[in-house]
Symmetry: C2
Amino acid sequence: MSDQHVPIRAGVIGLGSMGLGMALSLARAGIETWGCDLNPAACKALKGEGGHIAASPAEIGSKVDVLFCVVVNMQQAEAVLAGAGGAVGAMAPGSVVIQCATCAPDAVKALAAEIAASDVLFIDGPISGGSAKAHAGQITVMASGPPAAFERARPAFDAVAARVFNLGTEIGAGSQVKLVNQLLAGVHIAAAAEAMAYGISGGCDPKALFEVITASAGNSFMFENRVPHILEDDFAPRSAVDIFVKDLGLVHNSALARKFPLPLAAQALTMFTQASAMGLGREDDAAVVKIFPGVDLPRKGN
Amino acid sequence: MSDQHVPIRAGVIGLGSMGLGMALSLARAGIETWGCDLNPAACKALKGEGGHIAASPAEIGSKVDVLFCVVVNMQQAEAVLAGAGGAVGAMAPGSVVIQCATCAPDAVKALAAEIAASDVLFIDGPISGGSAKAHAGQITVMASGPPAAFERARPAFDAVAARVFNLGTEIGAGSQVKLVNQLLAGVHIAAAAEAMAYGISGGCDPKALFEVITASAGNSFMFENRVPHILEDDFAPRSAVDIFVKDLGLVHNSALARKFPLPLAAQALTMFTQASAMGLGREDDAAVVKIFPGVDLPRKGN
């Protein structure tokens, strides 16, 4: 029996909406699944599907062969993975860490270098798709790292992802592609908001506008996905304004570091930052439409 | 036999790539079709499908019941439709003019007012879809005007369009929706260029980037449609840089006139203007990617 057929044990640190969905997808695929988070409701949800809860990063590290790190930023990833008390120090040789947070490529390289002394394999593997796809085991992973790590992680990837793009062996490549995606996603959300605000101010019926644009060359994934939030006056956060303040900030800083100009991304970053400064940081990212003054936006129940 | 069953005669002024495609689609649908253009090759192509050629706007006006005006801008539309020698003066009462060029809503209103003294019906009907869809009879029309005009033009719309959005009776409504579409289309092309340039400068493989983004939340109709031109180093104009200098200029001026801010559209307009100033105005609009310095863009044959 080859090593490939030994069942793996998988873990997720960070049971937010994406991380919990991924952990549930792992458990439903029949994989022994561990989770770690401070939020008791998320832990309870995973237990309800037969998952196990670890009390600390070190404990989950000692229990699993493949560990997804689904935290918010590099500061958190560093804290739960590296150093004394981090998960990596407790992981068995040949096990795999997949770093899923959206981070600067250089910071991911530095983290990988920091844990290189261990015998744990590292994948730079940011994820995309949102909460619903995570719960359905249908996320996209933009990944780079050593072939042995992909081989070992394969059953876990199969359980959580519709597609895993292997972008080569170089750590940072996955994160760089993710930043390109975030540049476009952020600009497209801000453009959708600008276009709807401009159209409404020009007398267009918002619903007719949505119907025409989604059938025309002006359409984007984000226009189609976010404009319904504007039409329904529903800004409960699926993904918040402040996520794009962070992600476009990473895009912006990574470009500035190599003196590369980003006229649209810089403008979109300013728009999300303005929304955040107006107190909308925790609203749905479609709330960036509220930075345009004097627009008669659709109201709930109308 | 009701009036609806009397066969209509249709015409197209302006046999550019869109106009010629529409004229050919009318002729192929069995409608008596007239065309008018200074370009002999386009006239010959229409004759080859059984169409007729009129020597002047006044002549085509005298021959048809439904006339599409598919010229480049309002100045041309005004010249071929209104005043002495214009098509409208020669058209029979109850016939229909459909103004298809992308123009400022206020200018279209003024043109409609100018010809209101005639008994010719007017539709504000900008079109979208490009040359291939025009040749296939599959364009989109964003139209507003009197119901009687839509009724009379129906067989011609059926021959040229996959969808005709009826945006109400107010002249200007069609053009306003078209400008919203152009805002998004222009920003999305510029964003696709910016994202590809940024990604390549960060070491991403251009083809892998295209594959990942088209499967992710950063995708747009324009990213998917235009980035192949960049990958193939093929900037032969399907639609030229200068078209977006014009269209985003219309968007920008219409917003400025009502003191409405457009942070992204203004930035994208500057990007296309910069490309035009670099001598790229007649290249494909994807050539806006060339404004980013020091990027190792794909080269033909590699």
